[in-house]
Amino acid sequence: MLLKLDLNDPRPLHEQVADAIRRAVVQGDVAPGDRLPPARDLADALGVNANTVLRSLRDLRDEGLLEFRRGRGVSVLRRPDPREALRSLARDLLDEAGRYGYGPHDVIELIKEMS
């Protein structure tokens, strides 16, 4: 399993680790049903504390991406729907825009300018 950690990311480590694992799942590195390497191996490879990895794994389990099974370790339950993930981000963006008085059309214009 290939994981990439962004060294300049200011967010808490456990969120970064969760992102890295989520990305691996989205990109098909690990398919639903596949087992993840044990947390201590991931921690050792990423150079973070095992508890940090466990926290990320629990977060991903709460999202419904992973499944914990006694004696069988952690396995992938389903692939996240990128559309769904983007939808929640877009809602956040629209909420934030609304606070500054921008409507959805202004946000669309902004995105068009950027792309």
Partner: protein, 331 residues
């Protein structure tokens, strides 16, 4: 059929003919020698000698003359495997055919010759000559012939499995990113065998404890050691990080061996099977070591010093791609 495949077919024919001729020669000697001396040997004749060098076991002549059957069985299995597969085309597999054939043939002939010589012109098997240094000579000679067999397996083509050396494309690495790859391989069959050995050790231990012969403790210890060693070698974990390439054994990830990325030349994937490398576990052939947990896709790394290490591990393509990316970044 093109030139090289015609040459390969001719080589294969020659190899099978030569090994077959050796098998027939050994069988002929094993049959002829007892028949030639039958009238001068006691029946039964001494076939086992104690540590003091005095004969302490015997066998009817008819059974002794059947030693050739044992050879036919061994040679038949080895040659059958060589004739059925691509053994003749791979150096390592060829050597694992010629060396055992040489060793077994020489050992059987040597044992037979010393036995016949010790029994020659004796009236009862108890009168047979004592053996001491002769046994050492036979064993040394067997290893020498086995060594010759090993050398005899060297000449000829050395076919590599398809796609050997085809390195996957290096990954694109972004600055400020820490990429790591973690993978593992496990052999459920090996683990099963190890657990059976541990169960056998436990049962023998219980039997010995309940008053059966205390020698059972030895068996229990042997099974326990085999089981634990097996359990150790049925799983492996491989890690690639920007600093090093690490291989760890067993459930405790110990022992563990790290090689700095700077000492690696490149990596690729290759199909390797236990039959290609000489079995399971850590298989050493000069310049071409393999850690064989299960047959199939292996990650192969080449050191800048020239040696190669293959490891049977899942998801090897991505691991090789990351190693190549890290290596090209370092150089």
């Amino acid at each position: 059929m093109n030139d090289s495949s015609a040459r390969d077919a001719a080589f294969r024919r020659r190899f099978l003919l030569a090994t077959g001729a050796w098998a027939v020669l050994v069988a002929a000697v094993l049959v002829a020698v007892p028949l030639m001396f039958e009238s001068r040997l006691p029946d039964p004749l001494a076939t086992h000698w104690g540590p003091s060098g005095e004969p302490n076991g015997s066998m009817p002549f008819a059974v002794f003359a059947l030693a050739a059957l044992l050879w036919v069985l061994v040679a038949g299995v080895v040659l059958g495997a060589a004739a059925a597969g691509r053994v003749a085309m791979r150096r390592a597999a060829r050597r694992w055919t010629t060396a055992p054939l040489g060793w077994t043939g020489a050992l059987l002939i040597g044992l037979q010759a010393t036995t016949v010589a010790a029994n020659l012109d004796r009236r009862r098997w108890e009168d047979a000559a004592s053996l001491g240094w002769q046994a050492v000579v036979v064993i040394v000679a067997a290893f020498a012939v086995g060594g010759l067999g090993w050398l005899a397996g060297r000449p000829g083509p050395d076919e590599r499995p398809v796609a050997a050396g085809s390195a996957p494309e290096a990954l694109v690495l972004n600055q400020g990113e820490r990429p790591v790859w973690v993978s593992a391989a496990a052999s459920p069959v090996g683990a099963g065998v190890a657990l059976v050995a541990l169960a056998a050790a436990a049962s023998l231990g219980v039997c010995a404890f309940l008053g059966l012969p205390p020698e059972l403790w030895i068996g229990a210890a042997v099974f326990a050691i085999a089981g634990l060693a097996g359990l150790w070698l049925t799983s492996i974990r491989v890690k690639v990080s920007p600093e090093a390439f690490t291989v760890s054994y067993g459930p405790l990830r110990w022992p563990s061996r790290s090689v700095p990325i700077g000492s690696l030349d490149r990596a690729w994937t290759e199909e390797r099977h236990p039959a290609d490398v000489g079995g399971w576990g850590y298989r050493g052939l000069p310049g071409r070591n393999t850690i064989m947990i299960r047959g199939g896709e292996c990650l192969v790394v080449r050191y800048t010093s020239g040696g190669e290490l293959g490891i049977s591990v899942d998801d090897a393509t991505r691991g090789a791609a990351l190693i190549n990316a890290l290596v090209s970044e370092k150089h």
